[in-house]
Symmetry: C2
Subunit: 198 residues, 2 copies
DNA sequence: CCATTGACATACGCGCCGTATGCGAACACT
DNA sequence: AGTGTTCGCATACGGCGCGTATGTCAATGG
């Protein structure tokens, strides 16, 4: 069948480039990753790259979007298993912390992404992670569980706190020991949003 | 006098390069800033740069350190004027939010800095801002004002929340309107650290 | 006063990005 | 099926920017 052998092949090309880019960007960082090497590793050349993604930044954007979508899906699945929406929000945050510990996520999404693409808020296909959190917060405010703060601001700060918790943990001399402390501090901070503390 | 006319002149050279770099990095971003242009704007050449700072990253490190020191000094001065240490911590956070709204700080310290130099925690001459906040938190925990969380983790998260508040504000379509919301959300989060909420 | 150090300028090579051009396979149309 | 066209991708080219090696001149010190 296939709506065209062309489009099908092109999708595979894009996927292979994105996959190779994920590895290269994660290992060397965006700036140090050579497009020649990267495309060669995918069995292609820079021609394919510029045809599919416009430029190096376009490729990074595609990679970030893919990882972001995976993160949002994981977080949502974890939050859905929680007993209450509030527990879900906390679990979501902890999940972000743990995901952000992966070098790939840290390097690409947290470090190079914002530096090269600008603030995540204005990324094309608006950051899925943030959107997920924002909706959760909105619901909790409507239910009177959280103080009536701006949902977008709160979501951003919660995500930011979680990601910073991960950065701090990763930078620690002993991440194993640091992780529980980071999670504890994160949970404390989050409790500040509760309408009725305790 | 002077312990040598040489060293004195060299200090001025370094200062001029750092000043030019601040402008260039703030306007064009680290990656797009040309060393040739930058040094020419300072009335020098790349020779001076590599002699004084080793490489481009070294120059960025010097710039970041300078801005970081200025921020820490400002924050400390503001915190010192507060009625209580707890109010001081909040004022410090709000001050960080406002400072991080300046494009120079945002671009250099928050975006390019971490991406190029790695996590701020392991920057040479350990991030002065974080150190300031950590000490404040430590005191507040000792006084029983805050919950007994890890001071380093808490300081990192507070700073992270403040800086993210600034990023969110800056990315907003109307920063003027967004700033109070961001500050409000930040204050809520911070309250989560209080031993006796309310 | 001269030898030496060292701060900075100049000259060179290499890598990498973006674009313009070329080729061959999949589509459309008869 | 055959042919003209499209288009995905490879190849070729130009330019810029970084880092290093080399040169130069002023400031030191004996």
């Amino acid at each position: 069948m296939a709506v065209g052998r062309r489009a099908e092949k092109m999708e595979e090309t894009r996927a292979r480039l994105v996959a190779a880019a994920r590895r290269a960007f994660a290992e060397k960082g965006y700036a140090e990753a050579s497009m020649d090497d990267l495309t060669a590793a995918a069995g292609l050349t820079r021609g394919a790259l510029y045809h599919n993604f416009g430029d190096k930044r376009g490729l990074l954007a595609a990679v970030v979007q893919q990882i972001d979508a995976e993160m949002a899906a994981r977080a949502q699945a974890i939050a859905a298993r929680a007993a209450t929406p509030w527990e879900g929000l906390l679990a979501e945050g902890v999940a972000y912390i743990e995901m952000a510990l992966e070098p790939e996520v840290q390097r690409i999404v947290l470090l190079d992404g914002p530096a090269v693409l600008g603030d995540p808020a204005q990324w094309p296909s608006q950051n899925a992670c943030l959107e997920t959190t924002r909706r959760t917060v909105e619901g909790l405010i409507a239910d009177g569980v959280l103080k009536p703060v701006d949902p977008a601001a709160a979501a951003w700060l919660i995500n930011g706190a979680a990601l910073n918790a991960a950065l701090w943990t990763a930078a620690s001399s002993s991440p194993e020991r640091a992780l529980p402390k980071a999670i504890e501090a994160f949970r404390c901070l989050a409790q500040g949003l509760l309408a009725k503390p305790g």
